[in-house]
Symmetry: C2
């Protein structure tokens, strides 16, 4: 019933030639008489032959011509946009993409990276989770090519592609200042993560620059999802000396803040969000954001990795991508 998959040997026998000749046809080597080649090809199709990927790889000692990607969460549009761009680049190089979401769990990341390494991916793009990246360094030691995306991995000497987080945050706060806001709140995700550190610094730096209020309670940190941002926003606005403007540190937090404002019918609070999101221009007023292109980030990370795979041995670089402020209305409200 379960007929064994045909092997090269089966094909050879059927075509009445040697194993090696069959292998030559399979690999498109020139030195085969057209007539013989045809016989072999016929035998292949008749048998429905598919080369055994593992045997070939074992023999070649090569890698999988696939690249691994470890992100935080594939369902977050930021990461899926990045993943899609990487996938497209990979396909252009006849490589497949294996994706894993770490859900920001260092242990999950570790497991994923180990699995990918074991499967001999040609290289790995990773958005490092957690603080300790020793396992990445160890994999690198063993020969795995690694490129960090969105944030660098502290203590690991690898290429990295990041956005100008600090500059973007400064841009946002400066924009709000120009619209006469003095009390600008910040909604921030886990402050231990590089991206958020940078954004927080940009926020604080710009506050000082523009003489805006620097009350500690205006900066709400450790908000890991939209619901947390929604709660924080409500509390900020219900508290004493509330902000007149909010700078939200990422796409999820922006949406959470907007939900809160909607719920308590506040249309007078200015909002600028980090990360653009779908339908941001359909909200009323349009949501002003600091935009950076996740696809661009993915493309550049992929290109770095592919260059490494192609043998580039130059020193690792950290590339910083520019961000832009897109004014749509919500950030131009005045106090």
């Amino acid at each position: 019933m379960t007929a064994r998959r045909p092997t090269l040997k089966d094909v050879a026998e059927r075509a009445g030639v040697s194993l090696k000749t069959t292998s030559r046809v399979l690999n498109g080597e020139k030195s085969v008489r057209p007539e013989t080649e045809q016989r072999v090809r016929d035998a292949m199709t008749e048998l429905g032959f598919r080369p055994n990927y593992f045997a070939r790889r074992l023999r070649l000692g090569a890698d999988t011509s696939s690249i691994g990607l470890v992100i935080e969460d594939l369902s977050n549009p930021f990461y899926s946009g990045m993943a899609h761009a990487i996938e497209q680049r990979a396909h252009e190089h006849s490589m497949l993409l294996i994706i894993g979401s770490s859900q920001r769990q260092p242990e999950t990341e570790r497991r994923l990276v180990a699995s990918l390494s074991q499967r001999r991916v040609s290289g790995l793009i990773v958005v490092p989770a957690g603080h300790n990246h020793d396992h990445l360094a160890a994999e690198q030691e063993r020969g795995l090519r690694i490129v960090c995306a969105d944030r660098p991995a502290a203590g690991v000497s690898a290429d990295a592609v990041v956005a100008d987080n600090e500059g973007g945050a400064r841009l946002a706060v400066t924009h709000l200042s120009r619209h006469h806001h003095k009390r600008i709140a910040y909604l921030g995700d886990d402050p231990d993560l590089y991206t958020n550190q940078q954004r927080l610094e940009g926020y604080r730096g710009a506050l000082g620059l523009h003489g805006a209020a620097t009350d500690g309670h205006l900066a709400c940190l450790g908000l890991t999802d939209a619901a947390a941002a929604e709660r924080a926003t409500r509390e900020l606005l219900a508290g004493e000396s509330p902000p007149t403007a909010i700078f939200a540190g990422n796409n999820l937090l922006t949406i959470g803040a907007l939900h809160a404002l909607r719920a308590i019918h506040r249309t007078d609070v200015a909002v600028v969000g980090f990360d653009d999101f779908e339908a941001a221009d359909l909200v009323v007023p349009g949501v002003t954001v600091v935009r950076h292109d996740p696809a661009e980030l993915g493309r550049i990370a992929a290109d770095r990795l592919l260059a490494r795979i192609d043998g580039d041995r130059s020193a690792p670089t950290v590339e910083m991508l520019p961000v832009h402020l897109i004014a749509r209305g919500s950030g131009e409200l005045t106090p």
Copy 2:
């Protein structure tokens, strides 16, 4: 410089035991004296040994314990949501997920499926593109386990998980009728695709049921992106006997339609969209949608596939998931 990766044999020599004993330790077989085992483990870590995945697979003749996923476009939140759910299920079963976007190109799909099959994925979840699915049937013949998601593949006897597209469309149109609309336009994607066929049928069926206008020009088909939907919407509203309500056939088209309405300052046109989308409730008025859960669809497809991989040989089934109408305002506007 480039020291060869250590093999099991190297480990064996270093530990002063035989190859087989080392293999036993590697595979956690019981019959090894703890003391020996420790020596072997030490040797492994000292050498930084990693088992050769290909050699093992070749020997075992097993598959990759990874599953393949071919969708239309990973950057579309609908598909990335689905992909994320599948990924989570896969991880629970210690499997990795290899993702490819067909970009709705049959040829790209074909190539992706072939690559995945060649890599011996344990199974494949595919959103079939195009009309001819012979290659899927052929792969199935060769032993590849296939589950179709979002749409079935005509002519292929495989499990499929789909949403109740027709019912959802009826729901939308009925909802609009109840709010006294008689001229309800439809924005549809490629009508040759199963999903869109079903939605179009639901639309037409419901129009008849409620005695609404069935002018041919109210149904705009073949809109493949938001920009096309935007143009179509403008034309519809600028034309003679324009619609008072619009039913948009998917998330992208809904956004396109909303852009058009925003651009021409029409706040009186009712809109219901198929597929929910992020921030749909932040638009003013909130966007009424027919919602179905892409994550649920992914989960169920993954479960079907995992069951097949675990040996389930029962007849293929087509599972239809329910959809729900979420009223948020845009669909409750009256003419």
